[in-house]
C-alpha cells in the first residue's frame, strides 16, 4: 500500500484519508483500526503556562489529591482532565490503567517485579515505581496482546 505523509503546520491531531477504487472489508478494518488510534497531544499546565505535549513524552498519569498529575521523564505537570477522560484520549495500545488512580505508558516500562505479598511493581524508565492492582491485570494483558498482534500484523 502506498503511504504518503503531508505535514500541515498548526494541525493538532493527525488526519488519515484512504484513497481506494472500491470499498472492501480490508478497507473497513483499516479505517476502524486507524480511527481507534489516539495520537493527539495532551494538554498540561506548567505553573501559569498551558501547553500540549505529545503522548510519547508521558510516563504516567495519576490521581494527585483532587486533580490529575502527569509525569514525564523530567517533570510533573497538572492535567486539566479526569483519568477516565484521559483513558478516552490516550492511545489504547500504549497506555493502560493499572489501578484506580493510575494510567501508565507501557512503552516506558523497564521492569516488572512481584513481591512476596503479591504486589506487582512496574518500573518506568528505570526509576519511577508504579504499583499494579490485580483487578486490572486482565485489562493490561488484553492491551499488551492487542499491541503485540498489531506488531505482528505490521511485520
Amino acid at each position: 500500500m502506498e503511504v504518503e505523509i503531508r505535514i500541515e503546520p498548526g494541525r493538532q491531531e493527525p488526519k488519515a484519508v484512504i484513497l481506494a477504487g472500491a470499498e472492501s472489508e480490508e478497507l473497513r478494518l483499516l479505517a476502524d483500526s486507524l480511527s481507534k488510534l489516539a495520537l493527539g497531544p495532551i494538554p498540561v499546565s506548567r505553573g501559569e503556562e498551558r501547553l500540549l505535549l505529545p503522548q510519547g513524552d508521558f510516563l504516567r498519569f495519576y490521581a494527585d489529591g483532587k486533580g490529575v498529575a502527569a509525569q514525564t521523564a523530567g517533570e510533573t505537570c497538572a492535567v486539566p482532565l479526569r483519568l477516565y477522560e484521559l483513558e478516552e484520549r490516550l492511545d489504547r495500545t500504549r497506555f493502560v490503567r493499572i489501578s484506580n488512580s493510575e494510567i501508565i505508558n507501557l512503552d516506558r516500562v523497564t521492569a516488572v517485579d512481584l513481591s512476596l505479598s503479591g504486589t506487582i511493581c512496574m518500573t518506568l524508565d528505570g526509576t519511577v515505581k508504579s504499583y499494579v492492582s490485580r483487578r486490572y491485570m486482565k485489562r493490561i494483558k488484553e492491551t499488551l496482546n492487542l499491541g503485540r498482534r498489531k506488531g505482528h500484523e505490521t511485520d
Binding site: V112, S117, G118, I120, Y131, V132, N145, R148
Partner: protein, 257 residues
C-alpha cells in the same frame, strides 16, 4: 462494590449449606455417635462459610491481601479449633490439627503466589523484558545449597564423630558448640551473603531446616529438633538483613559484592 458484597454473601451462604450437609452426613459417620450436636452443626456451617470466601482475599494485593489473609486464617483457625475440640481433640492433638491447617494455608498461598508469578512472567514476555528471577529464586539459591549441606549434614557428622572419638561424657562439639554457635553464626552469615547478592530467597532457610532434619534422628533424637531452627531462623534473619542492605545501599557502593 455492591457486586463484591453480593459475591461474598452468596459464597458464605453456599459454604454454610455445604458445611451443614457435611456435619449431618460425615461428622455422624466419623464420630459414630447418635448424630452431630447443634453446636457442631453450627460450627460446620460457619467453617463452610469461611471456606466459601477463602479465595476472595487473594483478589487484592500487598497490605490488604496480608490483612485479609491473616483475618481469614484467624477466623478459620478459631472455628476449626472449636470444632475439633467439640469432636473430642485436646492438647497436642488439637495443636497438631491446627498445624495441619496452617500448612494447608501455606500451600494455598504458595500456589497462589506461583500463579501470580506466572502472570508476571507473561507480562515480562509481552513487554519484551528479560525473564527475571526464577520462582521463589530457587535457581539463585542453588549455589548456596552446597554450603547448607556442608553446614547441616557434613559438619554435624564430623563433630559427632569427633565427640565420640574423644569419648567424653558431655558431647561439647555436637551438643553445645554446633547448635549454639556454629549453626546460628554460619546460618546467619550465609543468609546475609545470599540476601546481599540475590535479595529475599525464602527457600534458603527452608533448605537449612530440611537438610538438618535427618541429622536430628540420625545423631540425636526428637529433643534436638530445635537444632533445625538454630540453623533456619538465623539464615532467614541474615537473608532479610542482606536484602535490606541491598535495598539501602546503592549498587555502586556494593561494587565487588
Amino acid at each position: 462494590m455492591k457486586q463484591i458484597k453480593w459475591s461474598w454473601a452468596v459464597r458464605i451462604l453456599a459454604g454454610a449449606v455445604l458445611g451443614l450437609v457435611f456435619s449431618v452426613v460425615l461428622v455422624s459417620y466419623m464420630v459414630g455417635a447418635r448424630g452431630p450436636s447443634p453446636v457442631v452443626c453450627l460450627l460446620c456451617a460457619a467453617l463452610g462459610g469461611a471456606a466459601g470466601v477463602a479465595t476472595l482475599p487473594f483478589a487484592d494485593d500487598g497490605k490488604s491481601l496480608l490483612l485479609y489473609s491473616a483475618a481469614h486464617f484467624g477466623v478459620t483457625a478459631t472455628l476449626f479449633a472449636l470444632l475439633i475440640a467439640q469432636l473430642g481433640a485436646r492438647g497436642g492433638e488439637l495443636l497438631a490439627w491446627l498445624v495441619i491447617l496452617a500448612l494447608v494455608y501455606a500451600v494455598i498461598w504458595l500456589g497462589r503466589w506461583v500463579g501470580w508469578y506466572v502472570e508476571v512472567m507473561q507480562l515480562r514476555t509481552l513487554l519484551g523484558l528479560a525473564p527475571g528471577p526464577s520462582p521463589l529464586k530457587w535457581r539463585e539459591t542453588l549455589p548456596y545449597l552446597a554450603f547448607a549441606l556442608l553446614l547441616c549434614d557434613v559438619l554435624p557428622l564430623l563433630l559427632y564423630w569427633a565427640d565420640h572419638a574423644v569419648s567424653v561424657d558431655v558431647p561439647v562439639l555436637s551438643g553445645l558448640l554446633l547448635p549454639y554457635i556454629l549453626l546460628p553464626v554460619a546460618g546467619f552469615s550465609s543468609g546475609l551473603s545470599l540476601g546481599m547478592r540475590q535479595g529475599v530467597c525464602p527457600l534458603y532457610p527452608v533448605a537449612c531446616f530440611l537438610c538438618y532434619l535427618p541429622m536430628v534422628f540420625l545423631l540425636f533424637n526428637y529433643t534436638a529438633m530445635f537444632h533445625c531452627f538454630m540453623a533456619a531462623v538465623p539464615a532467614l534473619a541474615g537473608n532479610v538483613l542482606g536484602w535490606l542492605y541491598r535495598r539501602a545501599v546503592p549498587k555502586k557502593g556494593r561494587g565487588a559484592a
